[in-house]
C-alpha cells in the first residue's frame, strides 16, 4: 500500500485499538497513543528521506475511484510544501502526547476518548495535506473540525463551550463558502472537461474574471478564517484560551496551517488571475494582521491569549509571504509554517506546564520563575526568542525570507511588516519579564521544575528550533522546487535585482 495511505490508516487503527480498551486503562491508552504517533513520525521521516527533491510534481501518488458519479477520486500525493507540513504534524503529535501526559484528566470524558480524538485528528491532518482531489480535501477540511471541537469543548477550561462553538461556526461558515466555490468549479469542470475534482485539471479551467474572483473569495475566506487573518480572527484567542495546551498546539501549530497551505495549494493554483487581482487587498490584511496581532499580544494579560495573538501576527507574515509571489516569499512562508508550528508548540507546551503548576493563566500571577524553576524558565525563554524570530533560531530564517521576498515585489508591505519585529520584542519580553524575572511572587515559591518526561518532550522541540536556525537546508531543499513550481504556475517570476549580480563578473 502507498505510504501516505498507510500513514493515514495507522493512527486510525491505533484509535480503534484504544477504543477497545476499558475506560479505566488510561495509562495504556496514553502509551498506545504515544507509540502510534511515534510510528507515524518514523514513517513520515522515512517518507521524507525517500522524497525526491529534484522533482516538482507530486510524489507518493495513489489514486482510487471513490464516487465515480461525481468524478471524485481518493487521490493522495505530496509535493514539498505538503510534505513539510506532514512532517511538522507527525513530529508534533508525539511531542504533544508526551508533553500533555496529564492533560486529558481534567476533561468531561475519559482519557481514552481524548486520545481517540487526537489520533483521528492526526489521520485527518495527514489527509488534508496530502489530498490531491479537491473533494477529498474538503472532506478532510471539514471533518477535521469535529474532533477539535470535542477536544476544546470536552477537555478545555473556562468558557470552553462558547469557544468551541465559536470555533466551529466560524470554520463551518468558511467551509460552506468554500463549498459553494467547489460546487461552481465542479459544474464548470463538467461543462469543459467532464466532471472532476482533480486539482491539475481544475487549474486549467477557463472562466471569466468575475467568476474567478468570486470563486477565489469563497476559497480565500475559508482559508483566511482558518489561518486566521484580520478581521476574521476573533475565534482564535477564545479557542486558544479555552483549549488545553496540547489542543492549542494541534490547533495553532498544525490545523491553522491548513489555511495558509490552502492559499498556496488552492487559491494560487486554481485562480492565478484572481490571486493577482486580490493581492493588494490581501497584503493590506496581512500587514494589518502582523501589526494588529502584535499590538493586541502586547496588551494581553492572559498567557494563552497572548500566544494566540502572536500567532495572528505570524500568520500575517505567512500570508504576506504567500501573496508576495516570489520564490523567497513562498519558501519562506512554507518554512514559516513549519517553524511557527514548533515555536508555538514550545510556547504552549511550556506555558501549559507553567499554568498547570501555578493553576492560573494570568501573566501577573507569575513572577520570578527563573529562580524557582530555571529549566522551565529557560525553555519558555527560548520558545519566546523563537517567536520573536531571533537570528540563529529557526523562525528567523523564515521570517527574513518572507520579508526579503516581499520587499522585492511589494516594498511598502515589507517595510510595515518589519515594524512587526520591534513589536515582537515587546510582546515576548513583557511576559518574560513579568513571569520569569523580578522577585518571586507569592504562590510561585514551591513550583517544581520540569521532570524527566517533560524534559524529553521539550528537548526535541528546542533542538529543532536551534538546528533549523543554523541549518535550514534540508527543509528548504524539499520546499524550494515546489514553491518555484507554484510561482511559475501562477504566472510569476522573481523580480530581478536592479542590477544583475552576474553581470559584474
Amino acid at each position: 500500500m502507498n505510504m501516505l495511505t498507510s500513514l493515514m490508516l495507522l493512527p486510525l487503527i491505533g484509535a480503534l485499538l484504544i477504543s477497545a480498551l476499558p475506560t479505566t486503562k488510561s495509562l495504556l491508552a496514553k502509551q498506545m497513543t504515544l507509540g502510534t504517533t511515534l510510528l507515524v513520525a518514523i514513517g513520515v521521516i522515512v517518507m521524507a528521506i525517500r522524497f525526491d527533491t529534484s522533482k516538482t510534481d507530486l510524489q507518493f501518488v495513489e489514486t482510487h475511484s471513490w464516487i465515480p458519479t461525481f468524478g471524485i477520486n481518493y487521490s493522495v500525493g505530496v509535493d514539498g510544501i505538503a510534505l513539510v507540513l506532514i512532517i511538522l504534524s507527525a513530529l508534533l503529535a508525539p511531542i504533544v502526547v508526551l508533553a500533555g501526559w496529564n492533560e486529558s484528566s481534567g476533561g468531561r470524558w475519559s482519557a481514552k476518548t481524548f486520545y481517540i480524538l487526537v489520533l483521528v485528528l492526526e489521520t485527518m491532518i495527514i489527509g488534508v495535506f496530502s489530498a490531491n482531489d479537491l473533494f477529498l480535501f474538503y472532506v478532510f477540511f471539514e471533518a477535521m473540525l469535529i474532533p477539535v471541537y470535542f477536544l476544546i469543548g470536552g477537555y478545555g477550561t473556562g468558557q470552553r463551550n462558547a469557544a468551541a462553538v465559536k470555533f466551529l461556526i466560524y470554520s463551518l461558515l468558511g467551509g460552506l463558502l468554500m463549498l459553494a466555490s467547489i460546487i461552481a468549479l465542479y459544474v464548470l469542470s463538467g461543462e469543459q472537461s467532464g466532471h472532476t475534482f482533480n486539482i491539475n485539471t481544475l487549474s486549467q479551467l477557463q472562466m471569466s474574471s468575475t467568476t474567478q474572483n468570486l470563486l477565489f473569495l469563497g476559497f480565500f475566506i475559508a482559508f483566511a478564517i482558518k489561518a486566521p487573518l484580520w478581521p476574521l480572527h476573533t475565534w482564535l484567542p477564545d479557542a486558544a484560551q479555552s483549549a488545553t495546551p496540547g489542543t492549542s498546539v494541534l490547533l495553532l501549530g498544525i490545523l491553522d496551517k491548513v489555511g495558509t497551505f490552502g492559499m498556496i495549494r488552492y487559491c494560487l493554483t486554481l485562480f492565478p488571475e484572481a490571486s493577482k487581482t486580490f493581492t493588494p487587498l490581501i497584503l493590506v490584511l496581512a500587514v494589518i494582521s502582523i501589526i494588529y496581532g502584535a499590538f493586541l499580544a502586547i496588551g494581553q494579560k492572559d498567557l494563552k491569549r497572548l500566544i494566540a495573538f502572536t500567532s495572528i501576527s505570524h500568520f500575517g507574515f505567512i500570508t504576506m509571504g504567500i501573496f508576495a509571489m516570489t520564490s523567497q516569499g513562498h519558501s519562506g512562508a512554507t518554512l514559516y509554517m513549519f517553524n511557527h508550528g514548533f515555536s508555538t508548540a514550545a510556547l504552549f507546551i511550556v506555558g501549559g506546564w507553567m499554568m498547570s503548576r501555578r493553576g492560573s493563566s494570568k501573566i501577573s500571577d507569575f513572577g520570578g520563575l527563573q529562580r524557582v524553576t530555571p529549566v522551565m524558565a529557560w525553555s519558555f525563554f527560548i520558545a519566546g526568542m523563537s517567536s520573536l524570530a531571533l537570528p540563529g533560531l529557526s523562525s528567523f530564517v523564515s521570517e527574513f525570507l518572507v520579508l526579503v521576498g516581499t520587499y522585492t515585489r511589494y516594498p511598502v508591505a515589507a517595510i510595515i511588516g518589519t515594524f512587526g519585529i520591534v513589536l515582537a520584542a515587546l510582546y515576548i519580553l513583557i511576559p518574560v519579564q513579568r513571569a520569569l524575572h523580578g522577585p518571586t511572587m507569592p504562590g510561585n515559591e514551591a513550583l517544581s521544575d520540569l521532570n524527566l518526561r517533560e524534559k524529553i518532550a521539550i528537548a526535541p522541540v528546542i533542538a529543532i528550533i536551534i538546528a533549523l536556525g543554523f541549518y535550514p537546508s534540508p527543509l528548504l531543499n524539499i520546499i524550494n522546487p515546489a514553491s518555484t513550481h507554484t510561482i511559475t504556475q501562477a504566472g510569476f517570476t522573481d523580480p530581478l535585482a536592479q542590477i544583475d549580480p552576474k553581470a559584474g563578473k
Binding site: K166, I169, P231, H233, T234, Y292, F295, L296, I298, G299, T326, S327, Q328, S331, G332, G368, Q370, R371, P374, V375, W378, L390, P391, G392, F396, V397, F400, L401, L403, V404, Y407, P411, T418, F419, I421, V422, A425, L426, L429, Q433, L436, H437, G438, P439, T440, F470, Y471, P472, S473, L476, N480, T484, D494, P495, A497, Q498, I499, D500, P501, G504
Partner: protein, 629 residues
Amino acid sequence: MTSNSLVYLIALPLFGAAVLLLSGRRSDRWGHIFGTLMSAGSFAVGVSLFLKMLGNPTGERALTQKLFSWISVGSFQVDAGLLADQLSICFVLLITGVGTLIHVYSIAYMSHDLDRRRFFAYLNFFIAAMLLLVLGDSYLNLYVGWEGVGLASYLLIGFWNQKPTYATAAKKAFVANRVGDMGLSLAIMIAFATLGTVSFQGVKEHASQASTGSLTAIGIMLLVAATGKSAQFPLQAWLGDAMAGPTPVSALIHAATMVTAGVYLITRSNFIFDLAPTAQLAVAIIGAITLLFGAIIGMAKDDIKKALAASTMSQIGYMVLGAGLGPAGYAFAIMHLLTHGFFKAGMFLGAGSVMHGMNDEVNMRRYGGLRKFMPITFATFGLGYLAIIGVPPFAGFYSKDKIIEVAFNAGGVKGIALGTAALLGAMITAFYMTRVVILTFAGSKRWDDKAHPHESPFLMWAPMVLLALGSVASGFFFTHGNSLRNWLAPVVEATPSHEGELLSPAVVSILALVLVAIGVGYAIIKYLLNEVPQVAPADVTVFTKAARKDLLQDNFNEAVFMRPGQSLTRGLQVADTKLIDGAVHGIARLAIGSGNLLRKTQTGFVRSYAMWILAGAIALVATIWVVTL
C-alpha cells in the same frame, strides 16, 4: 585565502556557553575557569590567525571559510561563511583580548555571586556572538551576530533580574536594539532587491552599478542599525539603564565591544557610504550630535557607571563621526575604537573595583579620597583618564585628535561645524572626566562608616593594569608609521589626499589641548577647590536638570512612543472585543433575534395558519402573474 580555523574562534566560546548552560549546577565549581579558558583559547586562535595574516602579502591577507550553504532560495543565496580581513581581525583581537581579561576580572568580581557559572556562560555566549558579528561574510551573517550580542547584552543587563528595574532596563535595551535591527534588516532587503546579493564581497563589487538613491536608502538604514546598537542619537536611551548589569559587562559589552558594532558596520559598509554622500553626511551629523549629547549628560551624572556610560556614548559619537567622514576617517574611527576599548574598559573595571571596595555604592558624591585606599585602581583609572581626555602621548590623544583634524578638513561649512563640535566635545570630556576622577579619588572622604574601602584582589587589578598599559601605549603603536591605517587600507581604501587642509595637525592639537586644559581647570575649581555636597544640589539650572535626566530622552520616548503605543494597544483591545468580535456576535444576535421574532408567527391558532396559506396562495398567484406579464 581560505582558512579552516576561523570557525574555532566562534566555536570555542560557543561551546563554552553551551557546556556551562546545559551542565547546570554541576559545573558551578569549575565553570568560571572553563569559560575563561574558552575565551583565552579563542584569543589564542585569533593571535595565530593574525600572525598568519601578517605573514601574507598585503593583498592576500583576508581569510575566508565557507561552512555550508545557509539559506538558498531562488537567487537569494547566503552561505554560512566567515571572513577575517584586516578590519575583522582588529576586532577579533580586541574582543577576545579584552574579553579574556574581563573573564579573569570577573572570576574575582563575581566570586560571591551564586550564579557565577551562568554569568560566564553569558560572557562566553557574548564573545561567540560578537565574533560572529565581525567575522560573518555577509550582512545576514552579521545580522545573526548582531542580534546575538543584543541577546547577550539583554541577558547580562538583566543578570540580576530579580530586581524589577534591572529587568526593565534589559528589556529596554533589547527593544531599542530591535528598532535598530529593523533598520539592518531593511538595509539587507534593499540591498538584495537592488544588488541581488547580501554578501560583503558581492555588494562591494556591484555597489557602483546601483542608483545613488538605493545606496542612500541602504546607508540610512545601516545608520539606523548603528544608532541602535551603538547607542547613538536618537536611540541612545538604553545605554545608561544598561549599567544595571554587573560592571564587567559594562566594561566589555557596553564600553569596549558591542556598542562599537555600529562603527564596525559603517566602516565595513564603506563601499556603500562612499557612493552615498547624503548617507555619509547623516552618519557624521549623528556622530557629532551624539558626542555632544553624551558629553553633556556626562557632566551631570553622579552615578559613576552612568557617567562612564555617557562618556561611552560620546566617544562612540567620535567614532561614528570619524566613520562618517569617509575614507579619510575610517582608519581613525577604528583606531579610536580600539584605544577606547582599552581605556574605557580599564576605567569601567576601575569603577567596578571601586564599587567592590565600597559596598556596591555607585554615587560618586559618596566617594572621595579613595586614592589612598585603592592605589592600583587609582593609577590604572588615572591612566585611562589621561588617555580619554587626550593628553599626549596617551592613546586618546592620537585617535581623537585625528578625528577632530579630519572633521575640520572635511571641507566647507560641514567641516567647520563638525570640527567645532568635536573640539567642544573634547573640552566637555575633559571637564566631566576630571570631575569623575576628583569626586572619586581626590578630595575628602564622603562615605559613611559602613564602607571599608580596600584594594581589589590580584585577579581584578591585573586586567586593569594590562588595560592601562594599552591605554598608554596603543595610540602611539597604531600611529607609528601609520601602521593601523596601512593595515586597514585594503578594506577601507584610505585615500589620504584631501583637497587642502583647513587646519594643520599641530594647530588642531594645540587647540584641543587648550580646550582640554580649560575643561580640566574648571572641573578642578568646581570640585576640588570647593566642597562637594553628599546630595546633589537641587537649585541648579534647567540645563543641569535636563542633563541629569539624560536630556529628557526618556520623557521624549515616553511621550512620543510609549504612551501613544499603550493607548493604541488599549484602543485596539477595545476595538477587537467591541467592534470586530462585537460584529460577529451582532450577526449571531441578529440571527437569534430574528428567529425569536419569526417564531411569534407561530401563534398556535389554526386559523392564522390557514391565513398564511391563503396569503401564500395570493402571493403565489400574484408572483406568477407578475413574472409572466
